[in-house]
């Protein structure tokens, strides 16, 4: 059984690690079909927020609602609709590209695992290297494979932490096109990134975080100037 949802609600979210406060009273909501950017300097709380949204970390205060449910109630059924690509790529270097995707497809209990894996390998442009061990791949190839790993089960909510790291221009453009396709298919994408030039024009909404607080929220486009200019303005005035 899976739990589907089209709306994500974050209410008064806070998280502390010992005495250090990583997130404080963050609230926002978003809908399926959006690409939301989490922008902010290092230590702003972006990765912590993504980990909480992925149900890997429990908030100290507040809660997250996936449609009508919370992570505590929905548990494993909810996790079947979440996909995450972290800064580390969550791949086994000793396994081949195909084995990595097959392992995760089977972990998600997908009936058509082989077909999905073949499709994922095509999308990652790794069909010809499918039976090579991941240890021999470049960072860009691993990044593309890791994205397919996160997408193999067709998640509703896709969480990306610095997905453009190590990608050349062509691969970054291909990832941007892939994210647009996912958005059009009704996926809700939340991406934390410092690659402002790459995501300029891609995001439907931008959330600015600083020192664990949500300091501003604005539409992805039409906010006056390029994204990096808006980022500089918001962060320096917050």
């Amino acid at each position: 059984m899976t739990v589907d949802f089209t709306r994500l609600g974050v209410h008064d979210l806070g998280r502390s690690f010992g005495r250090r406060r990583a997130l404080a009273r963050v609230s926002f909501a978003c809908e399926a079909g959006e690409i939301v950017g989490l922008l902010g300097p290092n230590g702003a709380g972006k990765s912590t927020l993504l980990s909480i949204l992925a149900t890997l970390l429990k908030p100290t205060t507040g809660h997250v609602q996936y449609g009508e449910r919370t992570a505590d109630v929905a548990g494993a059924a909810l996790r079947a609709r979440l996909g995450m690509l972290g800064h580390d790529l969550y791949l086994y270097p000793e396994l081949t590209a195909r084995e990595n995707l097959l392992f995760f497809a089977r972990l998600y209990g997908l009936a058509d695992a082989e077909a999905r894996v073949a499709h994922g390998l095509e999308k990652a442009q790794l069909a010809e290297r499918a039976d090579d061990q991941v240890a021999g791949f470049s960072r860009g190839m691993r990044q593309r494979l890791a994205l397919e790993r996160a997408l193999v089960h067709g998640p509703r909510l896709l969480l990306l932490d610095e997905p453009f790291t190590g990608l050349d221009q062509a691969s970054a453009a291909s990832l941007v096109a892939r994210l647009r396709g996912l958005r059009d298919d009704g996926c809700l994408v939340i991406v934390a990134t410092h690659d402002l030039d790459v995501v300029d024009g891609l995001l439907t909404r931008v959330l600015y975080l600083r020192q664990g607080k949500l300091v501003a929220e604005e539409p992805g486009e039409g906010g006056g100037g390029a994204l990096w200019e808006r980022y500089q303005r918001v962060i320096s005035h917050s």
Binding site: M84, L95, L107
Partner: protein, 227 residues
């Protein structure tokens, strides 16, 4: 329930594939266990005669020490590329992940034993073929108990900075009953006049430990893995 064991088997299969390709754990644990037996053989064998009752103790010391090496690495591998997060993100029963990891460690420890039991027999003139069924049962039940506690602690410490130091410090006091039962049971088999009822008593006790430790681990794994 079938899904639980399907997930556990997936983890075992994946861990075995990784190990077959890297041979990292097999080589280090076998080498270390063999070295332990060899060093003790120099200390406790004089003029071809081994100290009475030494064989059982040395066998279990080698099993425990080499097992600690394997336990430390089993979750360390999942931490290196943060694959543990991907496992925890999957819609699988988290205790099934534990069982998969546990079975992998047990298989590795049993493989080590296949090599070091004959070594102990050779260096300490231990009659390893006298009661193979009883010795096998002792080794299996002891290994399950030791690995059950060790796998849980290894998972618990995966994000701790001093995990390499902390694992033996936490593991050995809790696993002492398993080691004592293993040593006494093995000594009962190896002694000049074997004491079969005593060996059976220690096997029963180890079975009891196994049930308690595995149940506790299954119960606590999910909360331990949620930060």
């Amino acid at each position: 329930m079938t899904d639980f064991f399907r997930i556990a088997w997936l983890i075992v299969k994946k861990d075995l594939t990784v190990e077959i390709r890297s041979l990292e754990l097999v080589l280090t644990t076998v080498f270390f266990a063999a070295l332990c037996v060899l060093v003790f053989a120099f200390a406790f064998v004089e003029e071809g005669r081994a100290l009475d009752h030494a064989a059982g103790g040395i066998l279990w010391i080698a099993i425990a020490f080499s097992g600690t090496l394997a336990l430390g690495r089993t979750f360390e591998r999942e931490r290196q590329a943060e694959t543990l997060r991907a496992l925890l993100l999957a819609p699988a029963d988290r205790p099934a992940l534990y069982v998969g990891k546990l079975l992998g460690v047990i298989l590795l420890m049993l493989l080590v034993q296949v090599l070091i039991v004959p070594l102990v027999g050779l260096f300490f003139q231990a009659p390893i073929f006298r009661h193979p069924g009883l010795l096998g049962a002792l080794l299996l039940t002891g290994t399950i108990g030791y690995a059950a506690v060790g796998t849980l602690f290894a998972a618990m410490l995966v994000r701790a900075r001093s995990r390499d130091v902390m694992l033996p410090i936490l593991l050995y006091p809790i696993a002492v009953p398993v080691i004592i039962a293993g040593v006494r049971g093995t000594a009962a088999i190896f002694q000049a006049t074997p004491d079969e009822p005593m060996a059976r008593f220690w096997i029963t006790l180890l079975l009891f430990f196994d049930v308690v430790f595995v149940t506790l681990a299954l119960w606590t794994f999910e909360p331990l893995m949620t930060e």
